[in-house]
């Protein structure tokens, strides 16, 4: 992991550059689509065969991440792939918030799913900005680097 590349990337303003989508190859999208359909199918089959609670496990399975991280490493280097996984840690906490909020489905399915998406976005982005502003990313990076040395 190259610390200077990571720090330079971290300093970029937060936002979306939609022109980057022009560089996405159809094969990359196809790969993600296949992984997505397979895991949705596994969740449905597991839910039918072993019960919905078991099937629900697979709604939070990182099926697409290996493909995503490998493509990022190939195009932009290992440090950028590492940074993406680092963001995934906070996204995973948001995923927990999504699942917790979605338990309100019995009350109002559409409202609960929309609220769950808001909970995911609020927790993920909230933690991201907290880590960015307070320097917690740097501490996390040092901790992981020390654990590996």
């Amino acid at each position: 992991m190259e610390g200077d590349v990571l720090q330079q990337d971290d300093r970029e303003p937060v936002g979306f550059d939609w022109s980057r989508l022009a560089s996405v190859k159809p094969a990359e999208l196809g790969l993600r689509f296949v992984f997505g359909t397979v895991i949705a199918l596994i969740a449905a089959i597991a839910g039918t065969a072993a019960g919905p609670r078991f099937g629900g496990l697979f709604l939070a399975f990182p099926a697409v991440l290996p493909a995503t991280l490998t493509l990022i490493e190939k195009k932009e280097g290992m440090t950028k792939a590492w940074a993406d996984a680092s963001g995934g840690v906070l996204g995973a906490l948001g995923l927990g918030a999504f699942a917790f909020t979605a338990m309100l489905l019995r009350w109002n399915p559409v409202g609960a799913l929309l609220l769950a998406l808001v909970a995911w976005a609020a927790v993920s982005a909230g933690l991201y900005f907290l880590f960015r502003v307070t320097g917690l990313f740097l501490r996390q990076d040092r901790l992981v680097s020390r654990a590996g040395s």
Partner: protein, 108 residues
């Protein structure tokens, strides 16, 4: 089931495109753990089987998201040593251990 698979696949593509456009990389990474398959699957289950049928799925998903957290933390360690392909695939074991273990203790 086929409808869930199709819409789940499309949702994954949609979220990954948003992530691809996002910057910096750590911010884009938030979308790597987006509930793409979950949104599609829960919405279709709610429509076809009713809201009550989906609640157990969300309980399982909450356990699975603890596994996702473990996966991302372990992949941080493994990617540095084994690169993205091997590291991120091996990290699936962390998901299996945490999600499977918690399911056996709490969920089954």
């Amino acid at each position: 089931m086929a409808l869930k698979a199709l819409i789940g696949g499309l949702a994954v593509v949609g979220f990954s495109l948003i992530g691809h456009a996002g910057h910096p990389k750590r911010f884009a990474g938030l979308f790597s753990a987006a509930p793409s398959v979950a949104v599609a699957s829960l919405a279709i289950t709610a429509v076809l089987k009713g809201a009550d049928a989906t609640v157990l799925y969300t309980q399982g998903m909450l356990i699975g998201s603890a596994g996702m957290l473990a996966y991302c933390l372990v992949s941080l360690y493994l990617i540095q040593r084994l690169h993205a392909l091997v590291g991120s695939i091996l990290a699936w074991l962390a998901w299996l251990l945490v999600a499977g273990g918690l399911y056996l203790v709490l969920g089954s």
